[in-house]
Symmetry: C2
Subunit: 427 residues, 2 copies
C-alpha cells in the first residue's frame, strides 16, 4: 500500500507520524494532507534507513541538492564527497542526476549512503544506455524503483501538443530542461507520442507498486526571463494538472516541478497559477532565477527567486549552485547551494508562519543582544563559517589586546553595548 493509499483509508503510517513530530503538527493533519494531495512523503520502502520527510502545504519549506556524474567527471568518489557536503549542509533531499560512468552502480552507492529522500531523472540513464524505446524507458524506471529511488522526475507533459505550442510561439531559449529536450527530440525523431504520456497508466503501475512519488517535470520551463509564462510552459502545466488527478486516483503521490528563469514580478502569479491548476499539489521549483546575468552567483539569484516563490506557496526548493550555467559543481559549490536555498526557505517559513521558524531568529537576536558569541555561532545557519569569519577578524590593538565582548567591526562603537548602557537595561 502506498502512503497515499494508507492516508485515503484513514491509516496513519509510521512515516506520517515521524513527519508530524518533525513538523510540530498532528499526525492526522499530515494524513489529511496526503489524502488531499497537498502533502507528499516521497519514501520508497526499498530505500532502507531513509528518514521520511514531508513536502507540501503548511510544512517547512524543503531543499533539494542535485549531485551526480557527467561524461566529463564520471567518478562516484567525487559524488560521494558531494553527497556528504550536501548532508552536512543539512539538505532535505538529494537527486542523483548522473549521466556519466556506470550510472546504475553510481546510483546504488549513493542510495546506500543517503539517509534523506532521493530522486532521479530516469530518462538520463535511458539515453546514456541507449534504451530509448518505450519498453526501454519503462525498464529503466522499474530498475531505479527496485534500487530504492524515492521520487522520479518524469517529463510527462512534453507532448505533441506542447511542442506544437513551442513551434507556434518560438522562444529565445527553446528548451533548457535536459530531460525535456531529450524527450522532445525523441518525439520529433520517432514521430511518436511521449511514452510517459501515452502510457501514463503503465507509469502509474510501477509508481504504485514501489510507492514512487512522481515529480512531474517541467520540460518546457523557461531558460531566459523573456521566455517566462509563454504558451508552451502553460500548456505543459495544464497537461500536468490532468495527470496529477489521474495519479492521485491511482493512489500515487505527485509533486509538480516549476521554473526556471522568471522575472521577479511574475514569480508570485506563476506559483499561484500552478497551485490552482494542479489542485494544491506540492510545488518544486528550480530557482526561480529572476535574472540571467549572474553565472558564478546563481545560488544568490536562486535564493532571491526562491524566497519569493516559497513565500507565495512553493514547497520544495531545488538548489542552484555557483557553477550553474558554467560547469559541474564541486563539494564547496554544493555546500554554497544548499545554504543559500536554506536561507531562502527559512525567510519564507517566517512568512508562512511555520511552527518554530521565527523562534530561531528570536534566539539569535537574544544571543546578539547578550554579545554571546558562542551562542551566536552555534545558532548560525553555518556555524563553521560564522566561527571562521569571527575568529579571522578578531582584532589586535596596538597594546596587543583583542576585543573581547564586541566584534572587530564596531569595537567600542558597538551599538548593542552603547544602547544597552544608555537605556540602563543591561541584561
Amino acid at each position: 500500500m502506498t502512503q497515499r493509499e494508507a492516508a485515503l483509508k484513514g491509516n496513519i503510517t509510521e512515516a506520517m507520524a515521524r513527519v508530524a513530530r518533525d513538523e510540530g503538527r498532528s499526525a492526522e493533519e499530515i494524513r489529511v494532507g496526503l489524502a488531499q494531495g497537498t502533502i507528499a512523503i516521497p519514501l520508497n520502502p526499498l530505500h532502507k534507513n531513509c528518514r521520511p520527510v514531508g513536502i507540501g502545504q503548511e510544512l517547512r519549506t524543503k531543499v533539494n541538492a542535485n549531485i551526480g556524474t557527467s561524461v566529463d567527471f564520471p567518478h562516484v568518489a567525487d559524488e560521494l564527497i558531494k553527497l556528504k557536503a550536501a548532508l552536512d549542509a543539512r539538505t532535505d533531499a538529494v537527486m542523483d542526476l548522473s549521466t556519466g560512468g556506470d550510472i546504475m552502480a553510481i546510483r546504488r552507492r549513493i542510495i546506500a549512503e543517503c539517509p534523506v529522500t532521493l530522486g532521479t531523472v530516469p530518462i538520463y540513464q535511458a539515453v546514456a544506455e541507449k534504451k530509448m524505446t518505450a519498453d526501454g524507458m519503462f525498464s529503466v524506471v522499474e530498475e531505479q524503483a527496485k534500487d530504492g529511488v524515492d521520487f522520479m522526475t518524469i517529463h510527462c507533459g512534453v507532448t505533441f501538443e506542447t511542442i506544437g505550442r513551442l513551434k507556434k510561439q518560438p522562444r529565445l531559449m527553446e528548451v533548457v530542461s535536459r530531460g525535456g529536450a531529450l524527450l522532445m527530440k525523441w518525439i520529433l525523431d520517432n514521430k511518436e507520442e511521449n511514452p510517459f504520456y501515452a502510457q501514463f497508466d503503465r507509469l502509474l503501475e510501477i509508481a504504485g507498486k514501489y510507492d514512487i512519488t512522481l515529480s512531474l517535470g517541467d520540460g518546457m520551463r523557461p531558460g531566459s526571463i523573456v521566455d517566462a509564462g509563454d504558451q508552451a510552459q502553460i500548456q505543459e502545466l495544464v497537461v500536468l494538472g490532468d495527470l496529477t488527478k489521474r495519479a492521485w486516483e491511482a493512489g500515487v503521490q505527485v509533486i509538480i516541478e516549476g521554473p526556471g528563469h522568471v522575472p521577479y514580478d511574475q514569480i508570485e502569479s506563476q506559483i499561484k497559477m500552478q497551485k490552482e491548476v494542479c489542485k494544491g499539489a506540492p510545488f518544486y521549483v528550480l530557482g526561480p532565477l529572476p535574472t540571467d546575468v549572474a553565472p558564478g552567483y546563481d545560488h544568490i539569484t536562486s535564493a532571491i527567486g526562491g524566497t519569493l516563490a516559497a513565500s507565495a506557496g512553493a514547497d520544495f526548493l531545488c538548489y542552484v549552485t555557483p557553477t550553474e550555467h558554467l560547469g559541474l559543481p564541486e563539494a564547496e559549490d554544493v555546500k554554497a547551494g544548499v545554504i543559500a536555498s536554506r536561507i531562502a526557505a527559512h525567510c519564507a517559513d517566517i512568512v508562512k508562519k511555520v511552527p518554530g521558524a521565527k523562534n530561531w531568529d528570536i534566539e539569535m537576536s537574544k544571543a546578539r543582544k547578550e554579545l554571546n558569541w558562542g551562542k551566536q555561532i552555534a545558532l548560525a545557519i553555518d556555524p563553521v563559517r560564522a566561527k571562521e569569519i569571527h575568529q579571522r577578524r578578531i582584532g589586535t590593538r596596538d597594546d596587543g589586546r583583542g576585543t573581547v565582548d564586541v566584534c572587530s567591526m564596531c569595537g567600542e562603537f558597538c551599538a548593542m553595548k552603547v544602547s544597552t548602557e544608555a537605556l540602563g537595561r543591561r541584561s
Copy 2:
C-alpha cells in the same frame, strides 16, 4: 547654488546632463526629479573628479559599499584595497565609516582615490575625537564637507520623542544603529535634545553651503525581525518626513535611510509607507535582512530583501557583506557584498522597467543559446569569476579531449544543443 536650487530655477547642470546620459533619460526628466525631490545627485563640488550619479525614482537602482577602519583595524592601506575592490566590482557609491586611526587623514586619502559619490557618518568622528558638544558635532560636519564628502548620514530623527516611544514599547534588540545608539546615549546623558534636530537649520546651512546631500539616518531601525515596524521606527520616520520638507525648502537634497531587519512580508509595505511619509524622497535601505540567522551569508540575505525592497520602490541599496554581525570585512568580502547587491538591484530594475535592464538578460540568453562561452563570460556580472569556474570545470575525457562547445555539467546532454538540433533551427 546647490543642484536642487538649480533644478528649482529650471537650470540643467552638467551633472544632470551626465546623469541623463547614463540613465537613458532626458536632462529635463532629471531636472524635474531633482526639483520634486524624487531624485538626488549627491555631489560636493569639492570632491574633484567625482562622476555624478543619480539616485531615485525611475533611475537604475544604485549600490553603496561601506568601507572604513575600526579601532581594531585602523590602517588606511587596508581600506584603499577595499575601495579598489568595491570599485572593481562596480559599486555606485562608497561610504567611509572609519572609526579607528586618524579618521581625517584616512578620509582624505579615500576621497582622493574615489571617483564615485562618497558618504560618511560624521558622528563617528565626533565620538572618536571627543567632540560631543553641539558645536563639536557641527564642526566635524563642516570639516568633512570641506574635504569633499558628497552625502552624510545624520541621525536627526533620534529625539526625546522617538526615545520615548522606544521606552514605551521595549524591543528585543534596542538600538542597533551605531550613530543612533551614540546619539541616544548623548541625549539621555546630557538631558538635552539631539543637536542635529534642535538645530536642524544650522545643519541645513552647512549642507546648502557645500551642496551636501543629507542622508537622514534611521537610528531606530530594527535589528531583529521581531522588532520591525514598531513605534520607535515609525515615529522616527514621521520626524524624517517633516525634516525632508524643511530641507527641500532650504534647497538641500535629501535621501531617507531605512531598515534593517524586516520579515519578508513586511518589506513592501515599509517601502511604500516611507515613500508616502517622505513625499517620494529617494529611499536608501540597509539590506533589508528578512532573517537574523545567517551570519556569514548576510550578503545573500540582504540580496533577498534588497530585491523585494527595490522592486517595491527603494532606490539605493547599501550592501551587506558576509562578515556582517561578525567582524570588519576584508577586500574579498567587499567584492562579495557589492556583487550580491548588484544582482538584487538588477533583478529589481527588470521589474522597474529601467531602460536597458532587460536587454542585458536578452544578450546573455542569446550567448547561451549560441553556446558562445566568450560572450557569456564577457556579459557575466563578474566575468573573472565566471571564467574561473568555467575553466576549472572544463572536463577531460578518457581520450584526453575536453568538451569544446558544451560545458562539463551536461556534456552531450546539453539541452541547448539537443533542442536546437531537434527543432532544426540551428542558429
